[in-house]
C-alpha cells in the first residue's frame, strides 16, 4: 500500500497527518519532505484522505427543539429511575418501541405525581407540564406523532388538564390544538394506522 516512502519516516508521516508529531520531529520531517517526492506524495495522499473524512458542518434552526425534546425525555426517564429501556427498544421494532415509550411516559407521569405529592409544589407541576408540552410539540422523526385520546384512565395529574397541547390527529394533515381534559391519555406513536386503532 505504501508507495515507497522512506522506512525511517513512515511512522512519523502517519503521526504528522494526525497532528500527533512533536514540533522537533515535525520540522525534521518537513525538511525531509522538500527533498523526497515519494514521502511528500505519501503525506499528500494521507492528508487528502483525512480531509475527506471530516463531516461538513451546517447549522439548523431545528436543533434547539431536538435537544429540548432530548432533555425532556431524559428528565422523565431519570425521574422514573429507569433501567435500560433502550435494550428492549432496540430489540423490538420501532413502532413497538414507541408504544412502549408512550407507556413509560405515562408511568413516568404517575411516578412523578406520586413522588411530588409529598412536596406538592405547584412550580414542579408547571415544569412537568412544560416537559409534556415539549414532548408533544417536538416531533423528532418525520413519522412520529403525538396523540391525545379519550381513555377510561384518568389523567395522572389533574393539574395537567386545561393545558393546551398540539395533537396530531390521524385524520388531519396539520396538528390541531386541543385542551387536555381528565380522561385523556397522551401517547407517542410513529404510525398513523396505529393511532387510528387507538381512537
Amino acid at each position: 500500500m505504501n508507495q515507497g516512502s522512506c522506512p525511517d519516516y513512515r511512522d512519523s508521516i502517519e503521526l504528522y497527518v494526525d497532528g500527533e508529531l512533536s514540533a522537533d520531529a515535525a520540522s525534521a520531517l518537513t525538511a525531509h519532505l522538500v527533498e523526497c517526492p515519494s514521502c511528500a506524495a505519501r503525506v499528500a495522499e494521507l492528508s487528502e484522505l483525512v480531509s475527506l473524512l471530516k463531516p461538513a458542518q451546517g447549522g439548523s434552526p431545528d436543533e434547539s427543539r431536538f435537544w429540548r425534546r432530548f432533555e425532556a425525555e431524559l428528565s422523565l426517564r431519570v425521574a422514573r429511575g429507569e433501567t435500560p429501556f433502550w435494550r428492549r427498544s432496540i430489540a423490538l421494532s420501532f413502532p413497538t418501541a414507541i408504544t412502549a415509550l408512550g407507556l413509560v411516559f405515562a408511568l413516568a407521569l404517575v411516578a412523578f405525581s406520586k413522588h411530588r405529592e409529598a412536596t406538592g409544589l405547584a412550580q414542579e407541576n408547571a415544569q412537568l407540564k412544560a416537559a409534556v408540552r415539549e414532548l408533544a410539540n417536538a416531533r423528532l422523526f418525520p413519522n412520529q406523532m403525538v396523540v391525545a385520546l379519550a381513555s377510561p384512565t384518568p389523567l395522572p395529574t389533574p393539574e395537567l388538564s386545561g393545558s393546551v397541547m398540539k395533537v396530531f390527529h390521524p385524520a388531519m394533515r396539520a396538528p390541531v390544538e386541543r385542551k387536555l381534559a381528565p380522561g385523556m391519555e397522551i401517547r407517542l406513536v410513529d404510525d398513523p394506522g396505529q393511532a387510528r386503532d387507538m381512537y
Binding site: E14, L53, A56, W67, F70, L74
Partner: protein, 203 residues
C-alpha cells in the same frame, strides 16, 4: 467566570443554558459538590452533541443513536464516582457511548443472522436536523466506513469525527497508545482501498 443561575432547575434539561455547556470538566465536578443535578445538566449540555455524533456515525441510524445517547446519560446519572476528582469524565462518557454503539452493531448482526438475511444497508433518509448535528458525510465515505470492521470504524470515528487525540482515545478505550496508532494506520489503509474502489467505479 460567570456562574449560572441556581433557580428553576428541576428537570435535568430545563436549565441547560449555553453557559453551562462551556464549563470545563473540573468545574463541573466542583459544581457537583454543591448541586449534583446542575452538574448533570452541564454534562448533558456539553456532551450531548458529541456523543450523539459518535453514536450516529457508528450506527447510521438516528433513532438508535438517540436512544444510546439517552442511555449514556442515564448511566452517568447513576454513576456514583462520576464527579470524583480523579474520575475521567470525558473518557468515561466516550467509552460508554463507544461500547454501547459497538454492542449494538453486534446485536444487529446477530439479529440479521437469525432473520436469515443480510444486515440492512445504511441507506435511509436522515432528518435534516440530525444531519446538522452529526455533520454530513460524503456518501462514498459513509459507505467505505460501513465496510470497515466495527473496531476500526470506532477508531476512525473517535479520531476524525470526534476529534479526539491519540492519548484521549487510549484513555477512553483503555488501550495502549501504540494500539491506537497502529489500529488507525491499518484503518486508513483499508479506507483508502475502499474509497479507491468507489472512485474507480464512478470514474
Amino acid at each position: 467566570m460567570n456562574t449560572p443561575r441556581t433557580a428553576d432547575i428541576v428537570p435535568i434539561g430545563a436549565a441547560t443554558q449555553d453557559s453551562l455547556a462551556l464549563l470545563e470538566d473540573a468545574e463541573i465536578s466542583s459544581l457537583a459538590r454543591t448541586d449534583r443535578r446542575k452538574a448533570l445538566s452541564a454534562l448533558v449540555a456539553k456532551y450531548r452533541r458529541p456523543l450523539f455524533r459518535h453514536a450516529f456515525h457508528m450506527l447510521h441510524n438516528a433513532e438508535e443513536a438517540y436512544e444510546i445517547t439517552q442511555e449514556v446519560f442515564l448511566r452517568a446519572h447513576r454513576e456514583e464516582r462520576l464527579f470524583d476528582p480523579d474520575f475521567h469524565i470525558k473518557g468515561w462518557l466516550y467509552r460508554v457511548t463507544a461500547n454501547l454503539s459497538l454492542k449494538h452493531i453486534r446485536s444487529r448482526r446477530v439479529r440479521a443472522l437469525f432473520a436469515l438475511k443480510r444486515p440492512e444497508p445504511v441507506k435511509e433518509s436522515v432528518p435534516p436536523v440530525v444531519d446538522a448535528i452529526a455533520g454530513q458525510v460524503r456518501a462514498e465515505v459513509a459507505e467505505a466506513l460501513a465496510g470497515l470492521p466495527p473496531r476500526f470504524r470506532q477508531l476512525v470515528v473517535l479520531r476524525y469525527f470526534d476529534d479526539l487525540s491519540y492519548k484521549e482515545i487510549a484513555d477512553a478505550m483503555k488501550m495502549p497508545i501504540g494500539s491506537v496508532m497502529s489500529g488507525l494506520s491499518r484503518a486508513r489503509d483499508r479506507l483508502k482501498r475502499l474509497l479507491k474502489h468507489t472512485e474507480l467505479e464512478t470514474a
